[in-house]
Symmetry: C2
């Protein structure tokens, strides 16, 4: 498993642009509309590899001239989540841009308590292990929430 992108220094402007381009391509393919609010919401989330609360997002959106009412942001988030462009961290009631739209499958989230950065990792082996263990207990898994909290490599272990 290579180091998580979110936790390593990288050309983030490029990273953002690339993700946005992928999303645009997918929207074209699916014949769905990345309208201004939706696009702006995604762009805000793409600014950093951290998660934002809906109301933080809403404030930033209103600074960009959009209507400052909860349904605005929740609708945009609804769309983006439905399409898999954004994920919700259930533990934190916060939203994070998908770092690999298109490839993203059964994502696990690694959430650094010190720097708040969130890495999205697909861990196929672990996921399979989990699902098959559940299956042996007589359970058919349809959906998984996997959120690990801890410390990323860049944060000192006493923080």
């Amino acid at each position: 498993m290579k180091k998580a992108l979110a936790f390593t220094s990288h050309d983030h402007k490029r990273c953002r642009r690339a993700t946005l381009a992928t999303v645009e391509k997918i929207c074209a393919e699916r014949n769905i509309r990345l309208t201004p609010v939706r696009r702006n919401t995604l762009e805000i989330l793409l600014e950093t590899h951290t998660a934002l609360g809906a109301y933080e997002l809403l404030e930033k959106l209103s600074q960009s001239g959009f209507c400052d009412k909860p349904p605005v942001v929740y609708r945009a988030l609804g769309f983006l989540m439905e399409q898999g462009f954004v994920h919700k961290l259930e533990r934190h009631n916060a939203f994070v841009a998908c770092s690999e739209p298109k490839k993203c499958k059964n994502p696990c989230f690694l959430i650094c308590r010190a720097c708040s950065r969130v890495a999205e990792q697909t861990m196929p082996a672990a996921h399979t292990e989990l699902v098959s263990a559940a299956n042996q207990a007589g359970f058919i898994t349809q959906n998984s929430v996997i959120e690990l909290s801890g410390l990323c490599a860049q944060c000192p272990s006493d923080s």
Copy 2:
């Protein structure tokens, strides 16, 4: 992995009593107090292998004569969670009694969409796999939220 208790028919009265007895024993050992609200909260959650929202719980508590105010239930839940007697399902903002207080470690939750029952399983192999995969990505896991949604063995797969 044997079938999850919550999903199989069993002597539930006995199951409840046993869990409560274990909790009482642990409280004695730890020298902490299972006061009436706390005990009642736990008993309500032990009635079924399902999760309840804080306000549902609060209503039941008030039916038992406790003060009908949010802090009452949140404080009881806070205590019970701190001690590991109750867990929160983050995905559902709901609370479920721990089915194996004492043995409980890194629990995963299997949540049936059809019947709402919740099984708590420790899946050591899967958990280790997950933590070590995260570790290879440069991440030190301190805490995990693992919640699988799907169908239990007793519920028809078209439900």
